[in-house]
Every structure is written in C-alpha cells, then in structure tokens.
Symmetry: C2
Amino acid sequence: MNLDQHTSQKYNQELETVRAEVLAMGGLVEGQCRKALKALVKGRAELAEEVASSDYKVNEMEVSINAKCTDILALRQPAASDLRVVVAIIRMAADLERIGDEAEKIGRLAQTLAEGRNGSSYRSDPKHLGKSVLDILNGALDAFARLDVEAAIETAAMDPDIDAEFESLTRLLITRMMEKPASVKNLLRVNWCARSLERIGDHAVNICEEVIFLVKGSDVRHLSLKEIQDRFLQPTA
Amino acid sequence: MNLDQHTSQKYNQELETVRAEVLAMGGLVEGQCRKALKALVKGRAELAEEVASSDYKVNEMEVSINAKCTDILALRQPAASDLRVVVAIIRMAADLERIGDEAEKIGRLAQTLAEGRNGSSYRSDPKHLGKSVLDILNGALDAFARLDVEAAIETAAMDPDIDAEFESLTRLLITRMMEKPASVKNLLRVNWCARSLERIGDHAVNICEEVIFLVKGSDVRHLSLKEIQDRFLQPTA
C-alpha cells in the first residue's frame, strides 16, 4: 500500500481543480481591469457601472478558492513541497481579489467622470499607464499558468517603468491642477485612477513572486529585483 | 495512544509561539503608524525618516511568521478547526505587512513635507483622522489578542466613520487646492497620507474579520457589517 502516492494523486486532482479556478479568477479580474480602463478612457458610464457592480463575483471566487484550499490542507495533509502550492494559491487569490477592488474603484471614478461635466478633458491621460498595467497583469497570470519562473522575473522587471510612468503622470496632473484650479476635482479623480492602476501593477508583481515561491520554494517577496535575478536566472552567455 | 492529543499539544505550543510573534508584529506595526502620524503632524523629518527606513523589520517578521505557519502545516498536519487558526494567522500577517507599507509611505511623505517649504500649513489636517485610525488598529489588535468576537465586530463598526472623515478631509483639501493652486503639491501629499490612513483602517477591519473567522469559522470578509452583526451578536435585552 502506498498511501503517500495515493494521497498525492488525490491531491493532484483537487489541486488541478483549484488551480483552474485561480486561472478563471485571473481571467475575470483581467477582464474587469480591461473594462475599467476602457470605461475610463472612453467615458463610458454604463460600462463603468458594470465593472463597479460586478466585483462581488471576484469576491465569491476568492471565498470559494480559500474554502477549497482549506479542505485540501485538512483532508489531504500535503507534504512540505505541495503545501507551498496551496499557500501560494491562497495568497494569489488574495492579490487577485485586491486587483478586483482596484478595478471596482476605477469603475466608480470612471462613472463619476463620464457622467460629470468636463470629465472628458483629462480622462485619457492614464491611457498609456493603463496599457502597461494590463501588460504586467497579463504577464503575471501567464507566468502562473505556465509556472514559468523566468517569465515571472521578466514580468516583475516591468514594474519600475510603471512606477516612473505613474510619477510622471502625477507631475502632469499637478501642473494642470495649478493651471486650472476649477478642474482640481476631476484631476484628482484621474490621479486616483492612476494610483489604482499603479497598485494593480504592484499586485501583479506579488503574483510573479508567488510563482517563484511556488516553483523554487523561496519566499522572495522582500528581496530586490536584482537579488531575485541573481539568485534564479542563469547568466546568459 | 492518543496521537491526536499528542499532535494537538505540540501544535498548541508551536501555535502559541507564532501567535506571540503576530502580536509582536502587531505591536511593531502599531508603533510605526503612531510614529508616522506624529512625524507628519509635528513635521519631524528625522522621525519620519526613521519610520520610512524601518519597514524591513515588519517585512522580516512576516517572512518568519509565514515560514513558521508552513512548518506547522507540514509537520503537525492540524485538523480542520486548527487549520483555520494557521490560515487566519497567515492572512493577518499579510495585513500587518501592508499596514507597515502604508506607515512607510506616510513616513516618506511626512519627511518631504517636513523638509520642504510651506509644508507646515496643512500637515496637521489629518490629525483627527489619524487618531481614529490608531484607535481602530488598536481595537483590532486587542480583539485578536483576546480572541474577542464582540470586540472585533464593535471595532469593525468604526470604519464607516473613518471613511466619512476621509471623504470630508478630501473635500477640504480640494477646496484649498482650488483656492491656492501654488500649494497643490503639498496638499496632494497630505491627501495621500490621508488615503494611506484610510487604508490602514481597511486593513484593521480585515484583522477583525480574521478574528471572527478564527473563532467562529465563518469567512465573513465579503459580508456587510449588518450581516455580520446579525449573525454573530446576541440581541441585547
């Protein structure tokens, strides 16, 4: 009797199910972010409202994934290396849930901007930042789907550019606020959208770090990008 | 032979250790928030720098707590009800780490405000909001220390007031930006500090929800306060 093997097989099946659910949650969250950005940039109030009011779906998926993970831990008692997968999935679902929260916030702000007066003047400012953020999120989810450490590290390396883009957009918005004090409210809303986008980028980096943890078993969350690269990337010839 | 009991005793000892570590982490994070607020309101650049540069301690504690929890899961294989505790602790440590990040952000902004020109005019604006946020954080950590569901629910109920206070502070800052366009930069920094404070409040609510999950076994993270109260509070005579 090979109980270990037996447990591990059952565990693999259940893990595949929960992994598929995380991927589906990732797809849903990515769609929410894409819609939120479109609603913001194009000034589509209805689409913005749709994003803002469907965050509950993301929340439900997190609760379901957490429950499944807790069941796996309790019933399968996976060994140390397998445990990592479950712990990484719990943390990834938390990050996806927070990305969903940021998309919801952008949705609400986009709705106010689309419905209000003069909102159109500035709402296209975060367009480029938004595209970069969708790219890093897509890269992170893709790295998770393929459990690809190299892709995870490459994707995480996009974040400093996003931060720089956010800083420069903020400076632009500040200049505009000083020039047009009457537009301060709308410009501040645009700035909050930009900040939410920047945070989505941070969560995408967390997901990349979970992929590394999951595959390599090292908790790299508080290492610098340089340290991570030195440790896990082969030097190229 | 009572293996269950045996496992559970060892588990209890190890759990006590990790629980003490979470409490210590909570104390450290609370101290960081208190210092960050003081540095902001009093314009103390050195204190601000101290806060901004000691976030690594909080990060190290999270890594250590996570490693201990993973070991407990792997070696003790706790049963379903005990598992909850470990899962709750992993999530709580993540919330504390994010509170530490927000304190660090406030520290950096406070430093810029303290060192810059004219920073003093507005930096005391978030004083009252800051005190409310320190209260809710203290309440949440206290509810965890005593595993007190009622206190957790009461503490979480403070959050809507904090949100309202944040909204009203934001409106005040917007009015000031419109009146004094030259101060937009500093006012925006104050607004970001306020936003970080508001987020610390949100994380304190998460901690309250973890206390409920830990004691009652229900995942209440996406329920409304009213639903939580109806479910877990005894009607008072």
